[in-house]
Symmetry: C3
Subunit: 358 residues, 3 copies
């Protein structure tokens, strides 16, 4: 979108003309860039996403602020009132800091096999390798050191940063971003126990990635065994995520760093998976599910909502005591049951005795 756009100053009026919102105060105030509340300087615009930080507005050196309607009078600085100041800020940042998109063309040091199809408007970086019959779409960017396997495809305006590996036959849609070290299409972990060890199950499926997907650094997505692994449109994946073979991730689901998802699991749309969560294989998670960080998912989830399993920390000595108790929790529960039985019995004779006395 911002291809070729040069960053430059905008007035509040010009900003509102493009992104909406109501300008209060001097609408001709010129803005050079966006900045955080505490570090903003003159010529910069900042934002207040949460009313509880209102007090910090007094100390900002920003020239303008983006505010929610509830905070419209929390400062006398020139300002833009927007329904969702954080979203407004995100859009403004995109507008004012366009991606540093490399020029079209194939770097002289890149290696492109003769049968590969690279669109003339695409960029292929230094020392990248494009295998036979691979396709690079219009305005796509293949970073330095990337590997595109045979028949792999990268869609319109997608960007692979340096050192991404895309295995043979895998396909990435339009406007995706893939960060360095990501590996898409390695063999799934398919082995079957043999007499003496393990026999490998050939992994013949692909990875198919939709449009507007972002994939973080060193994230790995395995190719399917027979059918494909599928990442639907608008999915956002952080760094160091592992996605097993034949997984399907529904559109617009966001997954934080270090999550592991085992093979053949289906995750719904608009889910949010917290960092370092683990999801076992062959289960289904419905739409609109939130999984907390560090949570283990061992069964299918059929109701939207938030689910958690990770225990919070304690000082080590107290934890030692608690952990020992967890190990004996079954015994403890039996002891409570015994007490309840005794309590029932001892109450009866006592009452009975009292009854006899009365």
């Amino acid at each position: 979108v911002s291809r070729g756009v040069v960053s430059s100053e905008l007035s509040l009026k010009e900003i509102a003309a493009q992104l909406g919102g109501e300008v209060l105060g001097e609408a001709s105030t010129r803005i050079r860039t966006v900045a955080a509340l505490d570090s903003a300087k003159a010529g910069e615009i900042t934002f207040l996403a949460n009313s509880k930080y209102r007090g910090r507005l007094a100390h900002t050196r920003a020239s303008a602020v983006i505010l929610a309607p509830a905070d419209r009078d929390a400062t006398s600085l020139p300002r833009i009132v927007a329904e969702d100041p954080y979203l407004y800020f995100a859009r403004l940042a995109s507008l004012m800091r366009p991606q540093d998109t490399p020029a079209a063309g194939i770097h002289a040091s890149a290696v492109v096999e003769p049968t590969a199809l690279v669109d003339p408007s695409a960029h292929v970086g230094a020392l990248a390798y494009i295998s036979a019959d691979a396709k690079v779409g219009p305005e796509a960017v293949i970073g330095s050191g990337c590997h595109l396997g045979a028949r792999a495809a990268v869609g319109h305006a997608s960007r692979l940063h340096a050192n991404v590996t895309l295995y043979h036959d895998c396909a990435i849609g339009a406007r995706c971003i893939v960060h360095s070290g990501a590996v898409i299409g390695a063999d799934g972990f398919g082995i079957v126990r043999d007499k003496d060890g393990w026999t490998k199950i050939p992994q013949s499926g692909r990875v198919v990635i939709g449009d507007d997907v972002e994939i973080g650094a060193n994230t790995t997505i395995d190719r399917g065994a027979l059918d494909d692994t599928v990442i639907e449109d608008g999915v956002k994946l952080d760094n160091q995520i592992q996605i097993g073979h034949n997984v399907r991730i529904g559109a617009h689901t966001a997954i934080a760093g270090c999550v592991g998802i085992a093979g053949s699991t289906k995750i719904g749309r608009y889910c949010r998976i917290g960092g370092a969560a683990g999801i076992v294989g062959h289960i289904e998670i419905c739409d609109e599910v939130t999984i907390s960080a560090f949570t283990l998912v061992t069964k299918s989830i059929t109701e939207p909502g938030t689910y958690t399993s990770g225990l919070p920390l304690m000082p080590h000595d107290r934890w030692l005591a608690a952990a020992a108790r967890v190990r004996k929790l079954d015994e403890l529960a039996r002891r409570v049951r015994d007490l309840e039985n005794k309590s029932d019995k001892s109450n009866k004779p006592i009452n009975g005795g009292e009854g006899e006395q009365s």
Copy 2:
């Protein structure tokens, strides 16, 4: 093994001649490829690994099925009866979908130092780098962008996919598969506290990998500090596993994704480690141990069996209540002990009283 073999149709009779099993129905049925039960088409063979999915056989469009003896009559389709249909399928898939093995030779863009020894039957991909005195064995494949350090060695018919890093002096045996982004031989995390910070302990050992090992994408195996890190024959490692220095993993152990194994730990043969498990350093796990996904191993394990620690998830509100109780579990156990003491005491006087009354 399948080097140079071209995929082609086989009849059930021809398949059974190579892989064994009993053919029922039309033995001349020709098979183009293997496929999953639900997505198989005409000309394809599928398999039934578990009798509970028998009902789905009615709807398959496959031309033939691999079945266990117990299910031999579950379909009227042409079929092969085999003791372990899943294993049979794995072998058949390997037979029918041979690896796309690149031709022998060194790509013009690869850089091979003069003292490196590359077997004429090996393949070195585009933009790969082979350091001085490194060795690439017969029929080995070094993918594009790989780095082989000084004196590193890759054995017969092993394959490194694109962008693998093998540090100096490390050795990989025969018929191994290493996926993209794997790093073998980086320094172990050896530091010792100094007056003001940390002093690095030079990591002088190697990584030594046996035969028939598979290593997943972005998995890291650190070199030993003084002695070597050792991965024995037939070990299967999924993606994003971290193996610390001086670890030894016994033959035919299989480890799922995202597992971390700290330094100097020894793991036995034929173990199975579930995804995202964590294993502390300097312990020993005996042969034939299964560790469940998301389990923390803090002590040596001396008995075969299955071990688990990860808590399953709960709806967040219920989890908040339970987690608060875990934090106070030591106190709860003391309260139960108090109740038991009171119960013992109150029972005695009552009984005693009753005894006196009688």
Copy 3:
């Protein structure tokens, strides 16, 4: 430091002259290298870090030993007495096994953009790519296949092993070591929910890394959103760590493998974070905190000490029972409260009854 130094034999006397310590026995004993207690051979020096392994000294074939003052007479071998034998060993190992530092110069196959500044004493390896306006300092080493983005900077004598990715504008200080597959400066996971999906927040900050930092294989450190992500001097990071945007890690903190740290969290100085721990975003951990392996940190920590949350494993059957009890722990606690209430009540009437009787 050891640049250009050739490994050679040293006598105990020569060693003590450089590193201190008291020599006992034959001071002219010549040492070729360092080795572990059990695998040391003639001509090698080993060390005893812990008095409890004293018995193993009887069987070592080492020619000399490094010992603590308390163990000074535990062997009759030539020996060096040092306050901290492990630290002494680390320094000696560095002295005797100098890094295999490549020669100055740019490999013919590397690609260096014309406006990049590479110091003549630096080494740029085969097939590395140095973008426009990037800087490589004196005696720095850029491994084969590395990518330095536009305006990225690597300081004096720092070493990037093969296949490291350093994004645009990020800076690494002096004497750092970065292992293969590390990705420094990928976009932080900044997204904000939009009507239909997610809007990306441009990540405009940098990663700034101090001096004497070590970064493990496949570790990822995200660039800041507006401000920078900062790794202070002397921080040691193991493999496969994920550090989110705008995190700050205090000087000399050491973090073991597979740890995930979410965005905007501040970690103090001299902390130690155990393997596979998870730290949520927007919290602060004070100096001198130790986090055990596999621990989840969900709140700020304001007191130095050791904190833990990971449950240790159990045999699977016992764990099934305990885990079921954890799920019902809130109910169990209520039942204990009921018993306590009954106990209070039933004790009163009984005593009351007895009182009436007396």
